[in-house]
């Protein structure tokens, strides 16, 4: 055994098992101190601002905690502290825009967001009238998105099943390539495609809900394929073999074992795809147009959708009389409505996933 004791091992053997440890509240205390010091300095030079104080404070904190930890706990802990600081900072950076966005939408949108706003249309509303709502836009958004889902989920799911269960053939690789290409299609191009497709049959200038659904489906399909493919790949091969060994045909294995096992993930994937397209504006503006009253028929005439409503209201600018900011207020409230719808859909998807998830525990 002694021959194994090369210098490295000797060095390792000499190391102590214990080292100093900073008290638990050191990081948070140091952070507060750093920000306070930076704020004080900035105030001294009369250039104080909150973002600047926080950013410089965090930088100072990172240096300070590394130095302190290096002195007390050793260099490995110091690097650990630095990495922790970097990760928390990155997390903070990612969250700040999100919180800020939600806060802004809530602040501007809550004013007009009420039962009246949700249940009335814009029919007969003009100028700065204290009236009008998004009922017609909610109807349009829900119908168009639902129909887009109805189109794209079967196509996307069956494609994913083909790719995963029927193997890496030349055709499969081709499909994967084109799905990847489709993921990158600009939404306006999808809108033009759907418009051109329907214009071929129904003549130029055609505008109806179903054209918008087709445009959205073009955007949704690649997302559904990609998400479902990943979920189906997660199903262990042993389960497929278990079913085959019981004399279950392949198609029943796919339907009753593979899909059943992955349904929670599939629902999540579909929800992500819906969230991806429900806020699309440009393709709907081209294909569905705008209208002031409710239209429930996807196959006849223009419809309003929430993103287009937001765009339209905002682009109208200040009203000449009455409540001059009414258009902006409606835009924010409609944006809030859209966010709430997406959140509700996500919540429903969570519940469905939980209901169908494979059960564990005793």
């Amino acid at each position: 055994m002694t021959t194994l004791r090369d210098p490295l091992h000797a060095q390792l053997a000499g190391k102590k098992l214990t080292h100093g440890k900073l008290p638990r509240f050191t990081p948070i205390g140091l952070l507060v101190l750093s920000v306070a010091i930076v704020s004080g300095l900035l105030a001294l030079f009369d250039v104080f601002s909150v973002p600047l104080a926080v950013v410089l404070g965090v930088v100072l904190f990172a240096v300070a905690i590394m130095a302190l930890s290096g002195a007390v706990e050793g260099s490995r802990s110091a690097r650990d502290r630095l990495a922790t600081t970097v990760m928390y900072s990155a997390f903070g950076l990612a969250v700040v825009p999100l919180v800020s966005l939600l806060w802004t939408v809530l602040r501007y949108g809550l004013d007009r967001f009420n039962g009246y706003f949700l249940t009335y249309t814009m029919r007969g509303v003009f100028g700065g009238m204290d009236a009008g709502g998004v009922y017609h836009a909610i109807v349009g958004t829900l119908e168009i998105t639902l129909f887009a889902t109805v189109i794209s989920v079967p196509i996307g799911l069956l494609t994913a099943i083909y790719l995963v269960e029927y193997g890496p053939t030349r055709l499969g690789r081709g499909i994967t390539f084109f799905v990847d290409v489709m993921t990158g299609i600009p939404s306006i191009v999808a809108g033009l495609f759907a418009y051109a497709l329907f214009a071929l049959f129904l003549g130029p200038g055609v505008r109806m809900g179903v054209v918008g659904s087709v445009a959205l489906a073009v955007l949704m399909i690649p997302v559904v394929v990609r998400a479902s493919e990943e979920m189906l790949k997660l199903v262990p091969n042993e389960l497929r073999e278990a079913a085959y060994a019981l004399g279950v045909p392949k198609w029943l294995t796919i339907v009753k074992v593979v899909l059943r096992t992955s349904v929670a993930g599939l629902v999540t994937g579909v929800m992500l795809a819906i969230a991806r397209v429900i806020g699309e504006t440009a393709p709907l503006l081209i294909t569905v147009g705008v209208i002031d009253s409710a239209n429930f028929n996807l196959f006849d005439g223009r419809m309003m959708t929430l993103p287009v409503f937001v765009f339209r209201q905002y682009s109208q600018g200040l009203a000449p009389n009455g409540i001059t900011t009414i258009n902006y207020d409606r835009a924010w409230a409609a944006a809030l409505t859209l966010i709430i719808i997406v959140m509700l859909l996500n919540l429903i998807a969570r519940l469905i996933s939980r209901l169908f998830a494979p059960k564990t525990g005793r």
Partner: protein, 259 residues
């Protein structure tokens, strides 16, 4: 139930690679046949070809004949799904369906095939299969709990119950105990001893004591080297293989002087 399997001049290929060459053997009914040999010698490949499971792997094919009581399993009009209904299989790692309860797992063979049956029949099949797999007493009070809530050994016995619930003619076991502790292994070995009264059993094992304990016939497989096809070296009564094998390679392997 319990039919005999005859294998004649079996070659198994993965695409162009010849994995197993020239296997001829007879699997007797109501007996346990053990397949032993080093890793990569094709034991699992052979056992998987016995119920056409190896076809699940793209590019896998065989030449030669495998017959079940004289009926060619690879005949042109034979449906592999039907073959697997008659020749059940238990895998190395226990694989109960995670979305199903213990009860549903046992009757999965019927339910997944959309076969309708009354609740009473279903309960009877569940009870008799679980009794057959020595698991009834442990799970009778929690049949509606998920199958994955059981311990590894119990899960494996659940998989055996699931396999015998469809009343196959032959039961194939591909290293059924290699993921289990000695106590669970013992439970499975006892179970194999009981099951052989009704079934033809083929078991692949790396554990030579296990082969000696549970089997009546033993087949030793070996391969000449990496990239070479696996071959059946010899097959005989288990006692003879372990006391007085005909081939030097067999003796070297079972006495640990391998390689």
């Amino acid at each position: 139930m319990a039919k005999r399997l005859d294998i004649k001049d079996l070659n198994i290929y993965y695409s162009d690679f010849l994995a197993v060459e020239g296997v001829s053997m007879a699997v007797e009914p109501r007996a346990v046949t053990a397949l032993i040999g080093p890793s990569g010698c094709g034991k699992s490949t052979v056992i998987r070809s016995m119920n056409r499971m190896h076809e699940v792997i793209p590019g896998a094919r065989i030449s030669g004949r495998i017959t079940l009581d004289g009926e060619d399993l690879y005949g042109t009009s034979v449906d592999p799904v039907q073959v697997r209904r008659n020749i059940g299989m238990v895998f190395q790692r226990p694989n109960p369906f995670p979305t199903m309860s213990i009860h549903a797992n046992v009757i999965a063979g019927m339910r997944l095939n959309n076969r309708r049956m009354s609740k009473k029949t279903a309960d009877e099949i569940v009870e008799s299969s679980l009794r057959g797999a020595n698991l009834w007493n442990e799970v009778k009070d929690r049949l509606n709990k998920p199958g994955s809530s059981l311990s590894g050994g119990q899960q494996q016995r659940l998989c055996i119950a699931r396999a015998i619930a469809v009343q196959p003619d032959v039961l194939l076991m591909d290293e059924p105990c290699s993921a289990l502790d000695p106590i669970s292994t013992l439970a499975i070995e006892d179970l194999i001893g009981e099951l052989k009264k009704d079934y033809t059993i083929v078991i692949v094992t790396h554990n030579m004591q296990q082969a000696a304990r549970v089997s009546d016939q033993t087949a030793f497989f070996n391969l000449a080297g990496v990239g070479q096809p696996g071959k059946l070296i010899e097959m005989d009564a288990t006692e003879k293989i372990f006391s007085n094998p005909g081939q030097k390679a067999t003796e070297d392997y079972i006495s640990g002087r391998f390689g």
